[in-house]
Amino acid sequence: MSLIEISIGDLALSLGFIALVVVLSRLEGLAMERTLLTGTVRSMVQLIAVGYVLKVVFDLERWYWVVLAVLVMTMVAAHTARKRQTVRVPHCFWTMAGSIGLAAALVLGSLVGVILRVAPWYQPQYLIPLAGIILATTMNATALSVDRFLSEIKQRRTLVEAALALGAGAKQASRASTAAAFRAGMMPFVNTMMVAGIVALPGMMTGQILGGVAPTDAVRYQIVIIYGITAAAAVSSLAALAIVRRQIFTRRAQLAL
Protein backbone atom coordinates (compact mmCIF):
# COMPACT_ATOMS: atom_id res chain seq x y z
CA MET A 1 0.00 0.00 0.00
CA SER A 2 1.48 3.35 -0.95
CA LEU A 3 0.55 6.91 -0.12
CA ILE A 4 -1.49 8.89 -2.68
CA GLU A 5 0.59 11.86 -3.75
CA ILE A 6 -0.75 15.42 -3.43
CA SER A 7 0.13 17.47 -6.49
CA ILE A 8 0.48 21.26 -6.57
CA GLY A 9 -2.93 21.42 -8.19
CA ASP A 10 -4.42 19.32 -5.37
CA LEU A 11 -2.78 21.63 -2.88
CA ALA A 12 -4.36 24.62 -4.61
CA LEU A 13 -7.71 22.87 -4.46
CA SER A 14 -7.43 22.62 -0.67
CA LEU A 15 -7.50 26.42 -0.56
CA GLY A 16 -11.16 25.98 -1.36
CA PHE A 17 -11.69 25.11 2.31
CA ILE A 18 -10.29 28.47 3.32
CA ALA A 19 -12.27 30.23 0.60
CA LEU A 20 -15.40 28.69 2.09
CA VAL A 21 -14.61 30.16 5.51
CA VAL A 22 -13.78 33.57 3.97
CA VAL A 23 -17.13 33.62 2.20
CA LEU A 24 -18.95 32.61 5.38
CA SER A 25 -17.13 35.27 7.37
CA ARG A 26 -18.07 37.91 4.75
CA LEU A 27 -21.70 36.92 4.64
CA GLU A 28 -22.05 36.94 8.42
CA GLY A 29 -19.90 40.07 8.90
CA LEU A 30 -17.50 38.28 11.28
CA ALA A 31 -14.39 40.20 10.15
CA MET A 32 -12.21 37.09 10.32
CA GLU A 33 -10.87 37.32 6.75
CA ARG A 34 -7.63 39.13 7.44
CA THR A 35 -6.49 36.92 10.34
CA LEU A 36 -7.54 33.87 8.43
CA LEU A 37 -5.55 34.83 5.34
CA THR A 38 -2.45 35.57 7.40
CA GLY A 39 -2.77 32.18 9.04
CA THR A 40 -3.26 30.48 5.71
CA VAL A 41 -0.21 32.06 4.12
CA ARG A 42 1.95 31.50 7.21
CA SER A 43 1.05 27.86 7.54
CA MET A 44 1.71 27.22 3.88
CA VAL A 45 5.07 29.00 3.79
CA GLN A 46 6.24 27.52 7.11
CA LEU A 47 5.23 23.98 6.30
CA ILE A 48 6.69 24.00 2.81
CA ALA A 49 9.96 25.45 4.14
CA VAL A 50 10.08 22.85 6.93
CA GLY A 51 9.36 20.16 4.36
CA TYR A 52 12.42 21.17 2.36
CA VAL A 53 14.65 21.51 5.42
CA LEU A 54 13.60 18.08 6.64
CA LYS A 55 14.15 16.61 3.20
CA VAL A 56 17.73 17.86 3.29
CA VAL A 57 18.24 16.47 6.80
CA PHE A 58 16.72 13.14 5.74
CA ASP A 59 18.84 12.93 2.62
CA LEU A 60 22.11 13.82 4.35
CA GLU A 61 21.54 11.31 7.15
CA ARG A 62 24.36 12.71 9.27
CA TRP A 63 23.98 12.55 13.04
CA TYR A 64 25.02 16.17 13.54
CA TRP A 65 22.39 17.53 11.18
CA VAL A 66 19.71 15.51 12.93
CA VAL A 67 20.89 16.68 16.35
CA LEU A 68 21.03 20.28 15.13
CA ALA A 69 17.45 20.03 13.86
CA VAL A 70 16.29 18.68 17.24
CA LEU A 71 18.20 21.46 19.04
CA VAL A 72 16.54 24.13 16.91
CA MET A 73 13.16 22.56 17.64
CA THR A 74 13.97 22.64 21.37
CA MET A 75 14.90 26.33 21.24
CA VAL A 76 11.67 27.19 19.44
CA ALA A 77 9.73 25.21 22.06
CA ALA A 78 11.54 27.07 24.87
CA HIS A 79 10.83 30.42 23.22
CA THR A 80 7.15 29.59 22.84
CA ALA A 81 6.89 28.38 26.45
CA ARG A 82 8.51 31.60 27.67
CA LYS A 83 6.17 33.78 25.63
CA ARG A 84 3.16 32.19 27.30
CA GLN A 85 4.21 33.35 30.78
CA THR A 86 2.10 36.08 32.36
CA VAL A 87 4.47 36.61 35.30
CA ARG A 88 8.01 37.49 34.30
CA VAL A 89 11.02 35.86 35.92
CA PRO A 90 14.63 36.32 34.81
CA HIS A 91 16.27 33.88 32.38
CA CYS A 92 12.94 32.25 31.64
CA PHE A 93 14.08 31.14 28.18
CA TRP A 94 17.00 29.17 29.56
CA THR A 95 14.87 27.69 32.32
CA MET A 96 12.48 26.44 29.67
CA ALA A 97 15.22 25.30 27.29
CA GLY A 98 17.02 23.42 30.07
CA SER A 99 13.94 21.69 31.45
CA ILE A 100 12.38 20.83 28.11
CA GLY A 101 15.76 19.75 26.70
CA LEU A 102 16.59 17.55 29.67
CA ALA A 103 13.23 15.80 29.69
CA ALA A 104 13.14 15.37 25.91
CA ALA A 105 16.68 13.97 25.83
CA LEU A 106 15.80 11.50 28.57
CA VAL A 107 12.62 10.22 26.94
CA LEU A 108 13.86 10.40 23.36
CA GLY A 109 17.00 8.52 24.39
CA SER A 110 14.97 5.79 26.06
CA LEU A 111 12.61 5.46 23.09
CA VAL A 112 15.33 5.32 20.47
CA GLY A 113 17.90 3.41 22.47
CA VAL A 114 15.88 1.00 24.59
CA ILE A 115 12.34 0.52 23.33
CA LEU A 116 12.57 0.95 19.55
CA ARG A 117 16.30 0.18 19.32
CA VAL A 118 16.68 2.35 16.22
CA ALA A 119 19.91 1.62 14.33
CA PRO A 120 21.70 3.83 13.60
CA TRP A 121 20.24 5.85 16.48
CA TYR A 122 20.08 9.11 14.51
CA GLN A 123 17.81 7.86 11.72
CA PRO A 124 15.88 11.07 11.00
CA GLN A 125 12.75 9.15 10.01
CA TYR A 126 12.37 8.17 13.70
CA LEU A 127 14.20 10.84 15.61
CA ILE A 128 12.63 13.93 14.05
CA PRO A 129 8.92 13.08 14.35
CA LEU A 130 9.40 11.58 17.82
CA ALA A 131 11.29 14.69 18.94
CA GLY A 132 8.52 16.84 17.49
CA ILE A 133 5.76 15.12 19.44
CA ILE A 134 7.73 15.02 22.68
CA LEU A 135 8.88 18.65 22.45
CA ALA A 136 5.45 20.01 21.57
CA THR A 137 3.69 18.32 24.47
CA THR A 138 6.49 18.95 26.94
CA MET A 139 6.48 22.61 25.97
CA ASN A 140 2.75 22.87 26.69
CA ALA A 141 3.00 21.14 30.05
CA THR A 142 5.99 23.17 31.19
CA ALA A 143 4.53 26.49 30.08
CA LEU A 144 1.26 25.71 31.83
CA SER A 145 2.77 24.55 35.11
CA VAL A 146 5.28 27.39 35.46
CA ASP A 147 2.62 29.98 34.70
CA ARG A 148 0.24 28.40 37.17
CA PHE A 149 2.96 28.13 39.83
CA LEU A 150 3.82 31.82 39.72
CA SER A 151 0.21 32.94 39.77
CA GLU A 152 -0.54 30.54 42.66
CA ILE A 153 2.39 31.92 44.65
CA LYS A 154 1.21 35.46 44.02
CA GLN A 155 -2.31 34.55 45.06
CA ARG A 156 -1.26 32.67 48.19
CA ARG A 157 1.45 35.13 49.06
CA THR A 158 0.45 35.57 52.71
CA LEU A 159 0.08 31.81 53.21
CA VAL A 160 3.51 31.24 51.73
CA GLU A 161 5.05 33.93 53.92
CA ALA A 162 3.20 32.61 56.97
CA ALA A 163 4.89 29.25 56.37
CA LEU A 164 8.26 30.93 55.85
CA ALA A 165 7.79 32.92 59.07
CA LEU A 166 7.27 29.64 60.93
CA GLY A 167 10.58 28.34 59.61
CA ALA A 168 9.55 26.49 56.47
CA GLY A 169 11.99 26.40 53.57
CA ALA A 170 11.11 27.51 50.04
CA LYS A 171 10.08 24.01 49.01
CA GLN A 172 7.80 23.40 51.98
CA ALA A 173 6.30 26.86 51.87
CA SER A 174 5.39 26.48 48.20
CA ARG A 175 4.25 22.86 48.36
CA ALA A 176 0.56 23.59 47.71
CA SER A 177 1.41 25.86 44.77
CA THR A 178 3.75 23.25 43.31
CA ALA A 179 1.07 20.58 43.54
CA ALA A 180 -1.54 22.81 41.90
CA ALA A 181 0.90 23.80 39.15
CA PHE A 182 2.00 20.27 38.44
CA ARG A 183 -1.60 19.11 38.27
CA ALA A 184 -2.45 21.96 35.87
CA GLY A 185 0.44 21.00 33.60
CA MET A 186 -0.29 17.28 33.63
CA MET A 187 -4.07 17.24 33.39
CA PRO A 188 -4.16 17.57 29.58
CA PHE A 189 -2.08 14.38 29.25
CA VAL A 190 -3.98 12.40 31.76
CA ASN A 191 -7.18 13.46 30.01
CA THR A 192 -5.68 12.48 26.64
CA MET A 193 -4.76 9.07 27.98
CA MET A 194 -8.29 8.58 29.27
CA VAL A 195 -9.95 9.19 25.92
CA ALA A 196 -7.14 8.01 23.61
CA GLY A 197 -8.57 6.31 20.57
CA ILE A 198 -12.17 6.83 21.65
CA VAL A 199 -12.85 10.48 20.98
CA ALA A 200 -10.06 11.08 18.48
CA LEU A 201 -7.29 9.13 16.85
CA PRO A 202 -4.01 10.68 17.95
CA GLY A 203 -2.08 12.52 15.24
CA MET A 204 0.84 10.18 14.97
CA MET A 205 -1.39 7.15 14.70
CA THR A 206 -3.50 8.86 12.05
CA GLY A 207 -0.36 9.61 10.06
CA GLN A 208 0.90 6.06 10.28
CA ILE A 209 -2.42 4.61 9.24
CA LEU A 210 -2.56 7.00 6.26
CA GLY A 211 0.99 5.91 5.46
CA GLY A 212 -0.16 2.33 5.20
CA VAL A 213 0.80 0.95 8.62
CA ALA A 214 -1.62 -1.62 10.02
CA PRO A 215 -3.79 -0.04 12.77
CA THR A 216 -2.72 -2.75 15.24
CA ASP A 217 0.93 -1.74 14.75
CA ALA A 218 0.15 1.97 14.76
CA VAL A 219 -1.55 1.76 18.19
CA ARG A 220 1.58 0.20 19.68
CA TYR A 221 3.59 3.23 18.58
CA GLN A 222 0.91 5.47 19.98
CA ILE A 223 0.92 3.72 23.37
CA VAL A 224 4.68 4.00 23.66
CA ILE A 225 4.48 7.68 22.70
CA ILE A 226 1.74 8.55 25.17
CA TYR A 227 3.66 7.02 28.07
CA GLY A 228 6.85 8.68 26.92
CA ILE A 229 5.39 12.18 26.65
CA THR A 230 3.72 11.81 30.04
CA ALA A 231 7.13 11.16 31.59
CA ALA A 232 8.73 13.98 29.60
CA ALA A 233 6.01 16.43 30.63
CA ALA A 234 6.38 15.48 34.31
CA VAL A 235 10.19 15.66 34.35
CA SER A 236 10.28 18.95 32.48
CA SER A 237 7.58 20.59 34.63
CA LEU A 238 9.23 19.55 37.88
CA ALA A 239 12.65 20.67 36.69
CA ALA A 240 11.31 24.05 35.60
CA LEU A 241 9.41 24.48 38.88
CA ALA A 242 12.56 23.68 40.86
CA ILE A 243 14.54 26.29 38.92
CA VAL A 244 11.82 28.94 39.21
CA ARG A 245 11.44 28.24 42.94
CA ARG A 246 15.15 28.94 43.44
CA GLN A 247 14.68 32.22 41.60
CA ILE A 248 11.74 33.56 43.55
CA PHE A 249 13.01 32.60 47.00
CA THR A 250 16.26 33.93 48.43
CA ARG A 251 18.81 31.88 50.31
CA ARG A 252 17.35 33.21 53.53
CA ALA A 253 13.94 31.83 52.57
CA GLN A 254 12.41 35.17 51.65
CA LEU A 255 9.83 35.40 48.91
CA ALA A 256 11.16 37.84 46.31
CA LEU A 257 8.44 37.92 43.68
Binding site: T158, L159, A163, L164
Partner: protein, 263 residues
Protein backbone atom coordinates in the same frame (compact mmCIF):
# COMPACT_ATOMS: atom_id res chain seq x y z
CA UNK B 1 11.77 50.15 75.95
CA UNK B 2 12.07 52.60 73.17
CA UNK B 3 15.08 54.71 72.80
CA UNK B 4 14.21 58.21 71.87
CA UNK B 5 16.75 59.63 69.56
CA UNK B 6 15.22 63.04 69.61
CA UNK B 7 13.76 63.24 73.09
CA UNK B 8 16.19 62.52 75.88
CA UNK B 9 13.78 63.54 78.66
CA UNK B 10 11.11 61.02 77.82
CA UNK B 11 13.75 58.34 77.54
CA UNK B 12 15.19 59.07 80.95
CA UNK B 13 11.79 58.60 82.52
CA UNK B 14 11.49 55.16 81.04
CA UNK B 15 14.93 53.73 81.35
CA UNK B 16 14.54 53.66 85.13
CA UNK B 17 14.72 50.24 86.65
CA UNK B 18 15.85 48.60 83.47
CA UNK B 19 19.38 49.83 83.14
CA UNK B 20 21.82 47.32 81.79
CA UNK B 21 19.35 45.51 79.55
CA UNK B 22 20.51 45.09 75.96
CA UNK B 23 18.30 46.05 73.03
CA UNK B 24 16.32 43.08 71.81
CA UNK B 25 15.74 44.62 68.42
CA UNK B 26 17.59 47.56 66.97
CA UNK B 27 16.47 49.15 63.74
CA UNK B 28 19.46 51.15 62.59
CA UNK B 29 18.88 53.93 60.05
CA UNK B 30 16.80 51.72 57.83
CA UNK B 31 15.58 52.90 54.43
CA UNK B 32 13.68 50.66 52.12
CA UNK B 33 12.58 50.73 48.54
CA UNK B 34 10.32 48.10 47.04
CA UNK B 35 12.11 46.12 44.40
CA UNK B 36 9.14 45.24 42.26
CA UNK B 37 7.61 48.69 42.18
CA UNK B 38 8.27 50.64 39.05
CA UNK B 39 8.22 53.96 40.88
CA UNK B 40 11.36 54.98 42.67
CA UNK B 41 9.61 55.76 45.93
CA UNK B 42 11.09 54.97 49.30
CA UNK B 43 8.72 53.09 51.56
CA UNK B 44 10.86 53.81 54.61
CA UNK B 45 13.33 56.60 55.06
CA UNK B 46 16.04 56.55 57.70
CA UNK B 47 14.05 54.90 60.47
CA UNK B 48 15.75 54.00 63.75
CA UNK B 49 14.17 52.21 66.65
CA UNK B 50 15.23 50.30 69.74
CA UNK B 51 13.08 47.73 71.43
CA UNK B 52 14.07 46.15 74.73
CA UNK B 53 13.12 42.80 76.16
CA UNK B 54 9.62 42.92 77.58
CA UNK B 55 8.55 46.01 75.67
CA UNK B 56 5.16 46.41 74.07
CA UNK B 57 5.66 48.70 71.10
CA UNK B 58 2.82 49.88 68.88
CA UNK B 59 3.79 51.22 65.49
CA UNK B 60 1.01 53.51 64.31
CA UNK B 61 0.37 55.56 61.25
CA UNK B 62 -2.01 55.98 58.34
CA UNK B 63 -2.30 53.28 55.67
CA UNK B 64 0.66 53.24 53.36
CA UNK B 65 2.97 54.81 55.94
CA UNK B 66 5.41 51.91 55.81
CA UNK B 67 4.41 50.23 59.10
CA UNK B 68 3.95 46.78 57.62
CA UNK B 69 7.19 47.06 55.68
CA UNK B 70 9.02 47.92 58.91
CA UNK B 71 7.58 44.81 60.55
CA UNK B 72 8.47 42.65 57.55
CA UNK B 73 12.05 43.89 57.65
CA UNK B 74 12.31 43.06 61.36
CA UNK B 75 10.93 39.58 60.60
CA UNK B 76 13.56 39.25 57.84
CA UNK B 77 10.89 38.57 55.25
CA UNK B 78 12.67 41.23 53.24
CA UNK B 79 16.06 42.85 53.53
CA UNK B 80 16.33 46.61 53.94
CA UNK B 81 17.76 48.59 51.03
CA UNK B 82 19.86 50.59 53.48
CA UNK B 83 20.66 50.30 57.17
CA UNK B 84 20.45 47.19 59.30
CA UNK B 85 18.41 45.37 61.87
CA UNK B 86 19.99 43.78 64.91
CA UNK B 87 18.68 41.02 67.13
CA UNK B 88 20.43 41.02 70.52
CA UNK B 89 23.06 43.26 68.96
CA UNK B 90 23.72 40.93 66.03
CA UNK B 91 22.68 41.70 62.45
CA UNK B 92 19.71 39.47 61.60
CA UNK B 93 21.35 38.47 58.32
CA UNK B 94 24.02 36.73 60.39
CA UNK B 95 21.50 34.71 62.38
CA UNK B 96 20.74 31.39 60.64
CA UNK B 97 17.26 31.95 59.26
CA UNK B 98 15.77 28.72 60.69
CA UNK B 99 16.87 30.02 64.08
CA UNK B 100 15.61 33.52 63.50
CA UNK B 101 12.18 32.32 62.43
CA UNK B 102 11.72 30.50 65.74
CA UNK B 103 12.93 33.46 67.79
CA UNK B 104 10.88 36.07 65.96
CA UNK B 105 7.20 35.18 65.55
CA UNK B 106 4.97 36.92 63.05
CA UNK B 107 1.19 37.24 62.86
CA UNK B 108 -0.24 38.68 59.67
CA UNK B 109 -3.21 40.94 58.95
CA UNK B 110 -5.28 37.98 57.85
CA UNK B 111 -5.09 34.70 59.80
CA UNK B 112 -3.48 32.93 56.79
CA UNK B 113 -4.26 29.49 58.16
CA UNK B 114 -3.14 26.47 56.18
CA UNK B 115 -5.53 23.87 54.85
CA UNK B 116 -6.22 21.20 57.47
CA UNK B 117 -7.16 21.12 61.11
CA UNK B 118 -6.37 23.56 63.88
CA UNK B 119 -3.79 21.03 65.12
CA UNK B 120 -2.15 20.95 61.66
CA UNK B 121 -1.79 24.71 61.89
CA UNK B 122 -0.64 24.99 65.48
CA UNK B 123 1.83 22.13 65.08
CA UNK B 124 3.17 23.34 61.71
CA UNK B 125 6.29 24.92 63.22
CA UNK B 126 7.09 22.05 65.62
CA UNK B 127 6.60 19.47 62.85
CA UNK B 128 9.12 21.32 60.66
CA UNK B 129 11.55 20.76 63.49
CA UNK B 130 10.71 17.12 64.02
CA UNK B 131 8.33 17.60 66.97
CA UNK B 132 4.63 16.87 67.21
CA UNK B 133 3.46 17.41 70.76
CA UNK B 134 -0.32 17.69 71.06
CA UNK B 135 -0.06 18.58 74.74
CA UNK B 136 1.95 21.60 73.69
CA UNK B 137 -0.72 22.49 71.15
CA UNK B 138 -3.40 22.26 73.83
CA UNK B 139 -1.33 24.49 76.09
CA UNK B 140 -0.98 27.32 73.55
CA UNK B 141 -4.57 26.95 72.43
CA UNK B 142 -5.70 27.52 76.02
CA UNK B 143 -3.27 30.41 76.29
CA UNK B 144 -5.04 32.20 73.46
CA UNK B 145 -8.44 31.37 74.96
CA UNK B 146 -9.56 28.56 72.69
CA UNK B 147 -11.02 25.22 73.81
CA UNK B 148 -8.82 22.21 73.20
CA UNK B 149 -11.85 20.59 71.56
CA UNK B 150 -11.15 22.79 68.54
CA UNK B 151 -7.89 21.00 67.87
CA UNK B 152 -9.37 18.55 65.39
CA UNK B 153 -11.74 20.99 63.72
CA UNK B 154 -11.06 22.20 60.19
CA UNK B 155 -9.32 25.56 60.55
CA UNK B 156 -11.48 27.07 57.83
CA UNK B 157 -14.62 26.25 59.84
CA UNK B 158 -13.69 28.65 62.65
CA UNK B 159 -14.78 32.26 62.91
CA UNK B 160 -12.25 34.86 61.76
CA UNK B 161 -11.69 35.88 65.39
CA UNK B 162 -10.93 32.30 66.37
CA UNK B 163 -8.74 31.90 63.29
CA UNK B 164 -6.68 34.91 64.26
CA UNK B 165 -6.16 33.41 67.71
CA UNK B 166 -5.09 30.13 66.09
CA UNK B 167 -2.58 32.17 64.09
CA UNK B 168 -1.30 33.60 67.38
CA UNK B 169 -1.09 30.10 68.89
CA UNK B 170 0.76 28.89 65.80
CA UNK B 171 3.44 31.53 66.40
CA UNK B 172 3.49 31.15 70.21
CA UNK B 173 4.11 27.40 70.18
CA UNK B 174 7.66 28.06 68.97
CA UNK B 175 8.24 30.14 72.15
CA UNK B 176 9.41 33.23 70.28
CA UNK B 177 11.37 35.94 72.06
CA UNK B 178 9.59 38.61 70.05
CA UNK B 179 6.14 38.60 68.53
CA UNK B 180 5.46 40.83 65.54
CA UNK B 181 1.79 41.48 64.92
CA UNK B 182 0.51 43.25 61.82
CA UNK B 183 -2.97 44.80 62.19
CA UNK B 184 -4.30 41.54 63.63
CA UNK B 185 -7.82 42.88 64.01
CA UNK B 186 -8.43 44.50 60.64
CA UNK B 187 -10.89 41.74 59.73
CA UNK B 188 -12.55 41.43 63.17
CA UNK B 189 -15.69 42.80 64.77
CA UNK B 190 -15.25 45.15 67.77
CA UNK B 191 -15.75 42.44 70.41
CA UNK B 192 -13.17 40.10 68.87
CA UNK B 193 -10.83 43.03 68.35
CA UNK B 194 -10.97 43.91 72.03
CA UNK B 195 -10.36 40.27 72.97
CA UNK B 196 -7.33 39.94 70.71
CA UNK B 197 -5.83 43.20 71.96
CA UNK B 198 -6.40 42.17 75.58
CA UNK B 199 -4.72 38.86 74.83
CA UNK B 200 -1.69 40.54 73.24
CA UNK B 201 -1.36 42.81 76.26
CA UNK B 202 -1.59 39.85 78.58
CA UNK B 203 1.11 37.98 76.69
CA UNK B 204 3.31 41.01 77.13
CA UNK B 205 2.54 41.76 80.78
CA UNK B 206 2.11 38.26 82.25
CA UNK B 207 4.38 36.23 80.00
CA UNK B 208 7.01 38.92 79.47
CA UNK B 209 6.86 38.51 75.71
CA UNK B 210 8.37 41.34 73.68
CA UNK B 211 5.70 42.55 71.28
CA UNK B 212 5.85 44.89 68.31
CA UNK B 213 2.42 45.48 66.85
CA UNK B 214 1.18 47.60 63.99
CA UNK B 215 -2.12 49.42 63.80
CA UNK B 216 -3.69 52.38 62.06
CA UNK B 217 -6.48 52.61 64.62
CA UNK B 218 -5.82 55.40 67.11
CA UNK B 219 -7.99 53.97 69.90
CA UNK B 220 -6.34 50.58 69.80
CA UNK B 221 -2.91 52.15 70.08
CA UNK B 222 -4.09 54.28 72.98
CA UNK B 223 -5.57 51.31 74.85
CA UNK B 224 -2.51 49.14 74.30
CA UNK B 225 -0.35 51.32 76.47
CA UNK B 226 3.37 50.60 76.26
CA UNK B 227 5.40 52.55 73.78
CA UNK B 228 4.10 54.04 70.57
CA UNK B 229 5.87 55.07 67.39
CA UNK B 230 4.17 57.21 64.79
CA UNK B 231 5.29 56.55 61.24
CA UNK B 232 4.06 58.79 58.44
CA UNK B 233 5.22 58.70 54.84
CA UNK B 234 8.01 56.24 55.66
CA UNK B 235 9.53 58.46 58.35
CA UNK B 236 9.48 58.14 62.12
CA UNK B 237 7.66 61.24 63.24
CA UNK B 238 7.29 60.88 66.98
CA UNK B 239 7.52 58.24 69.65
CA UNK B 240 7.16 57.81 73.38
CA UNK B 241 5.19 56.14 76.13
CA UNK B 242 1.54 55.89 75.07
CA UNK B 243 0.23 58.03 77.94
CA UNK B 244 2.67 60.83 77.15
CA UNK B 245 2.16 60.64 73.40
CA UNK B 246 -1.60 60.77 73.58
CA UNK B 247 -1.89 63.42 76.29
CA UNK B 248 0.86 65.65 75.03
CA UNK B 249 1.76 65.12 71.36
CA UNK B 250 4.67 67.31 70.29
CA UNK B 251 4.33 67.33 66.53
CA UNK B 252 1.60 68.63 64.27
CA UNK B 253 1.40 65.23 62.54
CA UNK B 254 0.90 63.44 65.87
CA UNK B 255 -1.90 65.79 66.84
CA UNK B 256 -3.52 65.31 63.44
CA UNK B 257 -3.17 61.54 63.72
CA UNK B 258 -4.80 61.50 67.16
CA UNK B 259 -7.63 63.76 65.95
CA UNK B 260 -8.11 61.62 62.88
CA UNK B 261 -7.44 64.54 60.58
CA UNK B 262 -4.14 63.30 59.15
CA UNK B 263 -4.46 63.19 55.35
Amino acid sequence: MLEFHSTGDARAAHVQGRTGSVDKITVERVSHRNRCRTSDEWVLRDVSLSVRTGDLVTIMGPSGAGKTTLLRLIADLEEPTEGRILLDGRPVQEVPHEDLRARVGMVFQIPALFEGTVADNVLYGPRLRGGDDRADAVRVLERVGLRQGLLDREASALSVGEQQRVALARALILRPEILLIDEPTSALDPASTARVFRLIRELNVSDGLTVIQVTHVVDLARQSGGEVVLVVGGKRIESGPAEVFFSNPRTEAARAFIDGTLE
